[in-house]
Symmetry: D2
């Protein structure tokens, strides 16, 4: 809190917490607050955020509300999908991938309005503070960062609400009575954690889910869809060409109906603790699987296996907040290089909580029926080659065996 | 075919192909054939194999029929499950993991009966020839290997059947009219490939599946089960202690009923081509997920992420047939080291083709509600530490940013 | 030998072996032979090869002699140097990296002259046959490949010489009396193996070395040089700008004088056996070290460590002959991405068999004296940040310690 | 400084800095200080430390002086050498590997004397604070850690010396006039950094070196030595069996005489900055190379390449202070598994600043002259096998080539 701040750009949702932060920043730092509210497809209206910011005394020209949905999906979600990224084998990184975009836009605004600081509403125990701040520092090394949750003394919800009431910040009834868990949402996923989810032995209560129907309530009839890919990116559903954000929106609806993409996970946070989260990633779950499907016929084994080996590291980098790092960019360069011919169509069956690949085809398919067939392959493959192949692969094992067995 | 063979141990199923091989070996090499038939849980009676071998002139003391189910699951499937092994992101390696055990037992028998050669019925296009033969050569570097499919001229099914008929080998009616696909089965899985499966765009016909009900025909009510683990291995279902093979048998039944573990895959074979297979791994699919579940609360992040990074290589080694290799053993040593405290219970929901983790607990849990809670943690975690953590993680990115941006 | 060959492009050195091959191809396949002789800096005159080819009846328009030195260093050696590639920790891959270029040019010529086959003089035990042929097949999947050493019956040197004499192929005196080892040379290195080198316990005799003076005979005074790099590639020595091939030539001379770059290695061949080789890589050894030196100040830690982890795989791919593979290209894309700011100057001391980095500087240096200093850094680094950094890095270890110790 | 400390175990060298810390701890925390001085082979007498501690009022039973040389080399250096560990391609980790042992012993003493805190003299900018404290926390999760350099206000050398004089702490003349660089030493290496070394373009002045003669002053005649290994560990020099610490001591002397093991490095610290250090690791440099040499003939390729791929991660873990982490232990398990037959003898030549392998032999050698020979190998290797080997390795590249080229 030492340095004098003149103007700070706050990642502002318009909710209770960031409204309190807005006021607290004005008071504590005696500085101008610039609000930035992003539409990442979280499904909330943003105009109320504008009104609340105005009421809090933010100048109209200092209220930024941006629709970043296409950039989010096209420049962040899609590159990540090319990598088949899964954190700890299961998690599709829905929260992690949104943070660098918010950080990037905040820094752009800071430059535009000549702000000397940025601020966010992430707590001191979570990963998001790291993701935001690594993004800030990478893009603007000398920016000042204010993380109110690590600084202030509003460390209980009661005190937060007292502060809100003392400063005419509206507190909705459900906030008063403490929500039984906390959520984060964007076009890729909704995450929930805390409170009722804190015992990892207890099943996630049904009321926690908001983006998917319970698989038991999903249609009794499967639905068949196709997804077209071009150079590794999904471009059409059932033959209808769609922009990245529109495509993901449509996949979300399909996933929602069929109860696809629920994940109950205990994960390892970058800050060193384990946490339990519930994730709903309806469209992303389908997209991830479909991308594997199209790679099956278009990627060479060497490329595919290298991608599989690099993937855990890539996912870890995104989870830990290192999107804007040379090593993430290096891995991306390798991954993107592999996607040039990842073009074609995947057919999927959606049913009762799961998606299944049932077909894939491509003008660039490397699958050769002629080579693989049990029938006469007319010389496409000489089975006698296998003997030499095995013999030389075995040579070192034989030399070892003679020594050791 | 150059060297004189005296006695050969044949991996013998009693089916048409290996019956033809038996006769062909006797004729071509003028040698004694020793048959070895393993019960790996493929679900076929083995006594007919004994009778057929006898009819083909194999001496009674040269007919080996072994129940290897416990060894298969305990010494091969379980170590692999500790690694969370998936080939190309999806395949549970059900065929791959059985081959080294068959090879090992064949070599043991060869030593016992003083045979100078071994033989198998795998074709020259597939992975199994590699897996068998790398196993043979690793364990008995100077053994002679006869791979009839790569040597003989019975290269069409018509000629194979002619040979069978000419030698009084019974040919069942369905073999005459060519099965529409070929299968391999053991306690872990059934694989199907070839013919009707050769177009990867066409959905797998329902009659191909034999180990699982169609998810659409599975019960409308989910079933909840628990699996107990000790040091990384499953030891009980719903509290009932079971041996490895019994446990997997029970999980297979649970998976079968709920239509769990079907996989339609286009994969990259070690011999360089792509093939399309359909796999049913009912119990293994549940086990794989459950193991991830118990690791979530008992494995430290460092161990978990290292395992995830090593896994693709480990799976590739098993797929390619390098079970008996120093590098697989080194990876196994690392993996096994991590499993000492992987003990506890996972709760799963089985429903309509999928399994879902819904709870996990362990006496060795590293999950700390006290540390992670949003509520007052009474000093278990100092949020101010996060600032230094982020600052030093950011330092190199800031130095980079000052240079590059 | 089954298929009819019309025209074959032979990698032809003009030496005894490839001269015999030339004749053998003409006889055995009754086909036209096109010769291709590359100047890769091996230090031999190439015009004799032309004369010999003519004498063997090759049409003048079918004799190709190309100076590929700049392409060799610029497009093959330099990209490899960007990776700091070392095979098995020590070997600079001097032979491996030349083979793909020869294969590429052979295929270009085959297309130009409408040949249907290519041929080379590598034996059936070595790596080079693999490197040549993987290159051929990758670039021309349907080309026919003739590997005489694997086909013919000239399996002893005596028979080879008899064949030569019977066909008026000149045999120099030293060939008659069998050279005591065999060599391969190009601008990057000279390798020697076989015969007197086959006992890995025996020291390499001094007469084997041809590119470097014995360190004991090197000057008693060290020599200081500088190498300038731009985007990862060496561009000047002692301030004098040089093309890739000229630069390496000059470094070779410097290395030669100071006895730098000798390596006595037992290595693992791709074909499964161990072999013992002696390598002289005078300029390459200096270049490799210098590149590490410039990366020390210009590469971020994340990029540097990722490179180090990827390097063994990259080196193995080149050693095994997979230059023209998607996975090598993916790794190259990642590596090249990291080199944008690898620009600056390295100062080295050359003395008695070794090179030592003694200084490095760069306009893009990430080294900050201000940050690192033991003196007052005026706020560039807050030592208190370290506490939080350590605390959160330790958190998981403390949770583990509480459980396990 | 918040919590009440009763008794603290200080890693105490007896030098100025830790003497000031001793006094400062007594004053600031009003607590008993227990001193621990380790002999890690740094080459200083330890009894003066005892006297100084007594003079500072430490109770005799609270002064611990331990000779840890054998434990250091046997349990820390040797396991690391098995891995061929090099940080950033060049650094033998001499400082890094000593820290966990000191931390371990400090915690043992803390338990013995019932202390509630530990303290060290490492600064807030370096890696050593991290290595000490991660060790402390891993072994004693609830210990209190006091890092004076991050806490106190003695932030300049002038103030440190004033404090010393005010408290009757003897300050040697050379400390007053500030040493031109700082050093750390143990049996494995001496490191120097700071001040005169801070400009990475300037050559390290000759007076910085203390453990090795200048190569230019080394003997003009090379010296040949042999090192025997058993299961990956060096056990004898020139046939004379030696304990780990004795062996390293002897190798240090050999390295010293021949000027071996100097390294001028710019490295990336874990705390995010680059630093420039000079390292002298005379015996370790020879040992590292010799270990590679014995592995060349005794390790299978699969094991060797896996080790090479894992090594950078392993080295990074040690550098960053994660010796006591599950992932380091997992990697160690894998590495140690590979060393069972790493037994035999390496012959080396030491000359003017460098060591060279000139021979290696082993009763477990996998090198087979019979297989590799250019001469008639009597059927040990069938060159015709290479065709099939290449063909199947090429198959995927051909399918790719048909699609892409």
């Amino acid at each position: 809190m030492s340095d004098k701040i003149n103007r700070v750009v706050l990642a502002y949702s318009g909710g209770l917490d960031t409204s309190v932060i807005l006021k607290w920043l004005q008071q504590t730092y005696q500085c101008e607050v610039v609000t930035f509210t992003a539409d990442l497809g979280q499904g909330e209206e943003l105009e109320p955020a504008r009104r609340k910011a105005e009421m809090a005394g933010v100048k109209p020209e200092h209220i930024f509300i941006d629709d970043l949905r296409e950039e989010f999906v096209g420049d962040f979600v899609y590159p990540m999908m090319r990598a088949n990224a899964l954190y700890e084998g299961l998690y599709l990184l829905g929260t992690s991938i949104a943070r660098p975009l918010i950080a990037k836009r905040q820094i752009e605004i800071a430059r535009q309005v000549n702000a000397d600081a940025v601020s966010h509403g992430a707590t001191g125990k979570g990963n998001d503070q790291v993701r935001f701040e690594l993004g800030y520092y990478a893009l603007a090394p000398d920016i000042k960062v204010i993380a109110p949750w690590r600084e202030w003394d509003l460390t209980s919800r009661t005190r937060l609400i007292e502060f809100a009431e003392a400063h005419q910040i509206p507190v909705s009834k459900d906030k008063r009575g403490e929500a039984p868990f906390s959520t984060d949402a964007n076009l890729l996923h909704t995450s929930s954690e805390g409170k009722v989810l804190e015992d990892p032995w207890e099943e996630v209560p049904d009321y926690v889910f908001s983006r998917t129907v319970n698989p038991e309530d999903a249609p009794d009839t499967p639905e068949i869809i196709t997804i077209d890919f071009e150079r590794g990116d999904a471009v059409a559903i059932n033959g209808e060409g769609l922009s990245p954000a529109s495509l993901l929106t449509k996949l979300n609806e399909l996933g929602r109906v069929h109860g696809i993409g629920r994940l109950d996970l205990v994960e390892n946070r970058f800050v060193g603790m384990k946490s339990r989260g519930m994730y709903e990633t309806p469209g992303g779950t389908i997209l991830h699987l479909a991308h594997r499907g199209i790679e099956q016929v278009t990627l060479d084994r060497g490329a595919a296996h290298l991608k599989d080996e690099l993937m855990p590291r890539y996912a870890e980098l995104i989870y830990n907040g290192f999107w804007f790092s040379p090593e993430r960019e290096m891995l991306q360069a390798a991954i993107d290089h592999s996607q040039e011919k990842v073009t074609g169509t995947v057919r999927l069956k959606l049913y009762k909580g799961a998606a299944h690949i049932i077909g894939r085809k491509s003008p660039y398919s490397l699958y050769s029926e002629k080579v693989v067939t049990f029938e006469d392959d007319q010389g496409a493959y000489d089975q006698r080659d296998a003997e030499g192949f095995i013999k030389l692969n075995a040579l070192r094992l034989r030399l070892l065996g003679r020594r050791d067995r």
